[in-house]
């Protein structure tokens, strides 16, 4: 069987990729430095990338720092995730206008956006696949998500370093993208600053053919492997063996109350999570009573009213909401969607304003059970 061709693109030719994608009608979105963080936004060229920057992350802590080199992708994931493009934070679904005894309905135009995602990490590809199952894998398909996803061009970037909050190795989602991309890039600084590129689709092959690439040398491949190996060194671990059952055995654990003493029920973890998919739908009217609109907005299992049904809220306490989130994410997600809902990106840990650490809470839950068994 023919060995997959591995090519390199010199770092100073990275703009060829932007030009080629833009020429094919894609809007490039990707990492850029804004408000002291590396966020995802519209980017025009390599000049918009956070070149020479990195991030430092810990529970409840994120800082951007200068690197001592000019790497384009020398950081991991930040506050944003790609879901904001495929499943926007808010959107109008339709509007109604009164016409005599009837209403005329206008749906929000279905012309799907055509994004090229630049710099998608392996854990994020895993998250995209999870949201694909959520929005398109069941009996009903979310048409706007499906249309935007269908159009999207994915440029993966393999991580060559990990933050202290990363645990993709535990979740078996990274740090190297195995599939789910059109092109995958591994940035290397030796033997010269360049990108080692693999093709993941026919679209990717066409785009790559238009770039001035060269065959990768063993030195390039070795440097790429060393970078990915470096990213695999992760101190943070989530023990996944038996985790699903562990959480389901511990609905009444006192540890939920302990977490609730710290948890703010502010919903940051769910908003930052690349797989959380809940939304609410609100109907609005105007003062004349002639117009009405229906809006969809990101919602969260930590928000009041989220579990509101006739008679009141099902989950009135912070303990019950955190339990719902963590148990869904790490346990009942398997029953619902056939996998864990966690990809090990660590966003919920970094962006929790009081640094609550999902992996640590899981570890404590396991430990508390051990103690309990020993004591009984």
């Amino acid at each position: 069987m023919e060995k997959a061709l591995i090519l390199t693109l010199a770092a100073d030719r990275l703009d060829q990729l932007f030009h080629e994608l833009q020429g094919r009608g894609y809007e490039c979105v990707g990492p850029t430095l804004r408000d002291d963080a590396i966020v995802y936004d519209h980017i025009e060229s390599s000049a918009d990338l956070p070149r020479g920057w990195t991030d430092e992350q810990a529970p409840g802590h994120y800082r951007v720092k200068r690197r001592d080199d000019d790497a384009y992708f020398g950081y991991v994931v930040g506050p944003h995730s790609w879901k904001k493009y495929l499943f926007p934070p808010e959107r109008r679904l339709w509007q109604l206008k009164r016409a005599g005894q009837k209403f005329d309905r206008t749906d929000t135009p279905a012309e799907p956006p055509r994004y090229a995602f630049i710099g998608v990490r392996a854990c994020e590809i895993a998250a995209l696949k999870i949201q694909d199952r959520v929005f398109t894998g069941g009996q009903f398909t979310e048409p706007k998500y499906a249309a935007a996803r269908e159009q999207a061009f994915v440029v993966a970037v393999n991580c060559t370093q990990a933050a202290s909050t990363c645990f993709c190795v535990s979740m078996k989602t990274g740090p190297e993208a195995q599939d789910g991309y059109d092109l995958s890039l591994t940035e290397v600084l030796t033997p010269e600053h360049s990108f080692v590129i693999r093709v993941g689709s026919d679209h990717g092959r066409e785009v790559l053919a238009a770039l001035q690439t060269a065959a990768a040398t063993p030195a390039h491949e070795q440097a790429a492997r060393a970078g990915i190996e470096n990213a695999s060194q992760q101190a943070r671990k989530l023990e996944t063996a038996g985790l699903k059952e562990l959480l389901q055995r511990n609905f009444e654990s006192e540890q939920w109350d302990d977490i609730a003493k710290r948890c703010l029920s502010c919903a940051n973890c769910t908003m930052a999570c690349p797989t959380c998919f809940c939304s609410s739908v609100e109907d609005t009217t105007d003062l004349t009573g002639e117009h009405a609109e229906r809006w969809q907005r990101w919602d969260s299992c930590f928000n009041p009213d989220f579990s509101y049904i006739h008679g009141g809220e099902v989950r009135k306490t912070t303990a019950s909401r955190y339990r719902q989130w963590m148990t869904h994410k790490l346990s009942t997600w398997f029953d619902q969607f056939g996998s864990s809902g966690c990809v090990g990106c660590g966003r919920c840990i970094s962006w929790c304003p009081v640094g609550i650490d999902l992996t640590e809470e899981a570890r404590k839950m396991r430990e508390s059970e051990g103690t309990c068994h020993e004591g009984s």
């Binding site: 804004r34 408000d35 002291d36 963080a37 966020v39 409840g60 802590h61 994120y62 800082r63 951007v64 506050p79 944003h80 904001k84 934070p89 808010e90 609730a260 003493k261 710290r262 948890c263 703010l264 029920s265 502010c266 919903a267 940051n268 908003m271 930052a272 609100e282 109907d283 609005t284 009217t285 105007d286 003062l287 004349t288 009573g289 907005r297 990101w298 969260s300 930590f302 928000n303 009041p304 009213d305 306490t317 912070t318 970094s350 962006w351 304003p353 009081v354 640094g355």
Partner: protein
Amino acid sequence: MGKPRLAVWKFASCDGCQLSLLDCEDELLAVAGAVEIAYFAEASSNLQPGPYDVSLVEGSITTAHDAERIKEIRRQSGAVITIGACATAGGIQALRNFADVEEFTRAVYATPAFISTLDRSTPISDHIQVDFELRGCPINKYQLLEVINAFLNKRRPNIRAHSVCVECKQRGTVCVTVARGEPCLGPVTHAGCGALCPSYNRGCFGCYGPKELPNTESLAAWARAELGATDRDIKRLYHNFNTWTEPFRSEGNRNG
């Protein structure tokens, strides 16, 4: 059937929330078309007698006279909607509630004998039944329109009681606490402003008061341990526009 009659009332306040109604500009004609503005002293000297279908009440109760006046407004009104931190929580002037008001009047006024005031500033709901409380210092004019709208269309207002954080995340604002180490009340504060301050790289001041289930103690503990905030800093964060709400009052009191 005539148009619903709207009244706007002022108690101890800065007028900013009433001004939000005048500030509606583009929507003001629609408001005037949908309701009869029967009593709105800030906008017109044509003050019509009651009864009114909807009363918007701004300001807190700080005098014995006002404590009676609000009862009459309740009697004259179908629905009473309080607008702003003063009316819903006692306002910034509720800082007097922690001090000696007579000492204040002696310090501030040349002739304190002319001042007749209660020793506490209290929200309208301490005095009468309120049908809806709209938060904010000042209120958000779009939320005000939404509430008027909902009452006119006999539906529940789309006013969410979740945290300001949700608004930050929805608009893509980077968390100022996590990325800059700024103390921020967003995680314990009721949404509604659209996360204005964090979008200008400032921590949230808590203008909209406590959200549902506010864990003020955990947020204070983190600010103290990880952000270098002193007890005094924390007290000043909580004892502000919504100081007299129970969660913010208690948390401020716990810190210095």
